[in-house]
């Protein structure tokens, strides 16, 4: 009888690698953000929220202009 070998499936290896990359990204993001003071962090936050709101509004406008239901069209 041959020796039993432990085989690691490629998917589990890939999962571990994805998690390692994610952890690395978190640390890098934290390090980048740590250069800012609390007020600077808040300014970045508010600017980002404002930008996202603008794009959300544009996406909604695009959707309303291109969807098929004429009753909702402006």
């Amino acid at each position: 009888m041959g020796k039993r070998r432990t085989v690691t499936s490629p998917s589990s290896v890939a999962k571990v690698r994805v998690e390692e990359v994610a952890d690395k990204n978190i640390i890098e993001n934290i390090k980048w953000f740590s250069q800012f003071s609390p007020l600077e962090k808040l300014t970045i936050y508010e600017r980002e929220v404002k930008r996202s709101r603008k794009f959300r509004g544009l996406a909604l406008k695009y959707y309303l202009n291109h969807q098929k239901c004429p009753s909702l069209k402006k």
Partner: protein, 155 residues
């Protein structure tokens, strides 16, 4: 001055027992994460003072009147900003851990910068509070908070 800074300034001035929870608190700890709403946990005894500030002075529209016994009230600004306020004494998360506002306030920290100061729960309490919803975004916040705890060496 932004609405958020104005709210914080008035809460501090009026000595409201508040805690910034949610993503903004995670952001102040040092995670570059963003969301549209602001979340506060406020001592239920300070409910009427909070309504005075948010509804009467800052002209925000509450989702429920002050007489309501609802534990969460959303305040909306004309420009679409949403401030969710928890008026409860205790919160229990999905792990069965209960958080009492007096204890969380006692362990809380004040982040200061120039003339700005904001009260945040201790990082461990914030991790526990993030387990209330356990939505994907909460799990991401928890990952960041754990990494921050390690990076900042907070015990």
């Amino acid at each position: 001055m932004s609405l958020f800074k104005e709210i914080i300034r008035r809460f501090n001035k009026e000595k409201i027992r508040y805690l910034l929870i949610g993503r903004q608190a995670v952001m102040f700890y040092g995670a570059p994460l963003f969301s549209f709403d602001y979340d506060f946990w406020i001592h239920p005894e300070d409910k009427s003072k909070t309504y005075q500030i948010l509804e009467e002075r800052l002209d925000l529209e509450p989702s429920y009147p002050i007489e309501s016994k609802r534990p969460i009230v959303s305040f909306l600004s004309i420009s679409g900003e949403k401030i969710d306020v928890f008026f409860v004494r205790k919160i229990t998360n999905k792990d069965g851990e209960t958080f009492d506002i007096d204890e969380v306030l006692r362990r809380s920290i004040m982040v200061k910068d120039k003339n700005f100061a904001i009260r945040l729960p201790h990082i461990d309490d914030l991790i526990g509070l993030k387990k209330i919803g356990e939505r994907p975004k909460d799990l991401e916040d928890i990952e960041y908070l754990k990494a921050l705890k390690k990076e900042l060496k907070i015990y």
